[in-house]
């Protein structure tokens, strides 16, 4: 995992053997089945249009552009509201809650060293036609993923905070 720590990622270790004997068995029981993402994070190039989105995780908030006239969320960011053609758009915080529209488990080593990870397509609860391609993290099983409720969690890489999503249920479990 040396490569991961160098890049500042948080990853779930798949080798159950690493857990057994070194941590309480309760931890082993919640170890994720899938990795939380690829071994290497390819990152966005920040510019004046997208910086608010990719750095919003700094204060733990997911933001989208919102039209000041018709209140539509606009994604990806463009300097016009596609609904009403309004030009008064500004980043607006959303709850960070979403629902899984679809997913896939990637097995191919496009990025060498990657363990199978879950790519999700998440609808934002405030406006379900706004979707994010993301990773579903701390994911133990594919069962029932589509339609399940998720919430954002951020993974920092330098100034970029990648919005990832985890099951609302499993996050409660982790907090208990």
């Amino acid at each position: 995992m040396a490569r991961d720590s160098r890049l500042g990622t948080t990853r779930t270790d798949h080798s159950l053997g690493r857990w057994i004997g070194s941590v309480p068995s309760i931890v082993a029981s919640i170890v994720a089945m899938f990795a939380n993402g690829p071994s290497i994070r390819l990152l966005p190039r920040l510019d004046d249009d997208n910086r608010f989105f990719w750095t919003g995780g700094k204060d733990g908030v997911l933001r989208f552009l919102k039209c000041g006239s018709c209140h539509q969320l606009v994604h990806p960011p463009v300097p016009v509201c596609p609904a009403c053609l309004g030009r008064d758009l500004a980043p607006e915080a959303v709850s960070g809650r979403g629902r899984v529209h679809t997913y896939t488990v990637n097995h191919q080593q496009w990025i060498p060293g990657s363990e199978p990870y879950v790519i999700g397509l998440v609808e934002i609860v405030e406006q379900p036609d706004v979707r994010l391609t993301t990773n579903l993290v701390d994911c133990e099983s594919e069962e029932g993923l589509i339609g399940s409720d998720v919430e954002v969690t951020f993974e920092q890489h330098d100034e970029v905070f990648l919005p990832l999503f985890r099951s609302v249920d499993s996050s409660k479990e982790n907090n208990s």
């Binding site: 390819l42 896939t104 790519i119 594919e142």
Partner: protein
């Protein structure tokens, strides 16, 4: 639509040509392209002096190594063509855009005989590195990983680096919404392999059965290795002529009856309104709006199979079955076999014949309409063929009818 027949009916495919096709041929893209182009020009009963238009998809310098083939300036200069019209580019109704643009150029009188080609050398280019995603293979060691803008910024950070991943998202939604099974999906691949056995140029011809398919390693669920097409080297060319030449051509012309070009949903892999269909829905609808023919008139279907799942999407979009019913439609394979109700991807498709990127399917549609399929010729009626290209937010289609010629 204005009164009168659609303008694309001024165009007909009068010549077809193809280079050698294979894995790691080790030949340059221009070398293969010249083979295909000269083949097509001769097949049309023309000489290069007759060619006054040139078009390709996507044009030089696009995509990963081996993807784009030579641009039109290189081909024009190599053959010293004197052109009244020329065009290349990657934006538009999928790979079909080059053919569709040629039809329109002919219809408005900008050209009379347009040479259209598509060349790939992806197998040679990928010979060292294996399959790669669109964003590249990643470089964990150098510390100088590039950053990404545009659409890729929204997918690459999450390891959604390949069209395989983006299409897999469509696939898993179809599993959820329609109950699609791997056993159903398999029949697109198995049908292709069965037909490829009858195609001497196909890159994968050895028999494959359902057990082989189900045992293949997963790429991105629900897509396994055999759901992904096979990179190859090869060039396909055709001559699109004004329809008044059709009767003089040496072979039966393939008349362009209607083109499918629409994109009414958002041009996005992950924001499209219906993730089970995407642009195939719109291209198909616009094609049927331009013709009195209906899906049941189609004798032969050549539907894009860059991923097997896309063929299912096209079957529904084109109205060969209802929404969500394509899995059942292909199940068992008999309906899509050479002697079935809708013979599909009769040369093996891209999954088994090789990823000629849409133009292999187009070439085969013409071969079948002419009745030149040999061992794999569809028996009985072969008057109407549909060709569909593309996936996700990129789609184009073509409805062809056989001339008397």
């Amino acid at each position: 639509m204005s009164a009168g027949p659609p303008l694309e009916r001024q165009a007909a495919i009068t010549g077809i040509g193809q280079s050698d096709v294979g894995r790691r041929l080790g030949r340059t893209d221009i070398d293969l392209t010249i083979d295909a182009c000269l083949d097509a020009i001769a097949d049309a009963g023309l000489t290069r002096e007759d060619i006054d238009g040139l078009a390709t998809y996507p044009g030089a310098g696009t995509g990963m190594a081996g993807f784009s083939g030579p641009g039109t300036p290189e081909v024009q200069d190599a053959l010293r063509l004197k052109l009244n019209w020329h065009d290349g580019g990657a934006e538009g109704p999928a790979q079909m855009k080059a053919v569709i643009a040629a039809c329109f150029a002919i219809a408005v009188g900008a050209a009379r005989h347009v040479l259209v080609y598509r060349t790939v050398t992806e197998s040679t280019a990928q010979g060292e590195g294996g399959r790669q995603g669109i964003g590249g293979s990643g470089d964990g060691g150098s510390g100088s990983v590039p950053r990404f803008s545009g659409f890729l910024q929204w997918t690459l950070p999450f390891g959604a680096v390949s069209a395989a991943n983006w299409i897999a998202l469509v696939g898993q939604r179809r599993v959820h919404e329609f109950g699609l099974t791997r056993e159903q999906l398999a029949h697109v691949a198995l049908n292709g392999r069965r037909n490829a056995a009858l195609n001497p140029k196909a890159v994968y011809r050895q028999p494959m059965d359902l057990d082989d398919y189900l045992a293949a390693r997963m790429i991105s669920s629900p897509l396994c290795l055999f759901d992904c097409d096979a990179p190859c080297d090869g060039s396909t060319a055709l001559v699109v002529s004004h329809v008044d030449y059709a009767a003089d051509a040496p072979h039966p012309a393939c008349h362009v009856n209607a083109v499918g070009t629409a994109l009414r949903g958002r041009p996005s892999w992950d924001q499209f309104d219906d993730m089970t269909t995407m642009a195939a829905r719109d291209a198909s609808a616009s094609m049927w709006e331009r013709t009195d023919l209906v899906p049941s008139d189609v004798d032969i279907a050549q539907l894009y199979d860059g991923f097997s799942l896309l063929t299912l999407v096209w079957l529904e979009a084109l109205g060969f079955c209802g929404r969500g019913e394509s899995g059942a439609f292909v199940d068992g394979g008999s309906r899509i076999a050479l002697d079935g109700q809708l013979p599909l991807n009769t040369a093996g498709g891209q999954l088994s014949a090789g990823r000629l990127h849409g133009f292999g399917l187009l070439h085969e549609a013409c071969v079948q309409l002419r009745g030149d399929g040999g061992e794999r010729q569809v028996p009985g009626r072969h008057e109407v063929a549909v060709v569909a290209n593309g996936g996700g937010p990129i789609a184009g289609s073509l409805l062809l009818t056989r001339g008397s010629g």
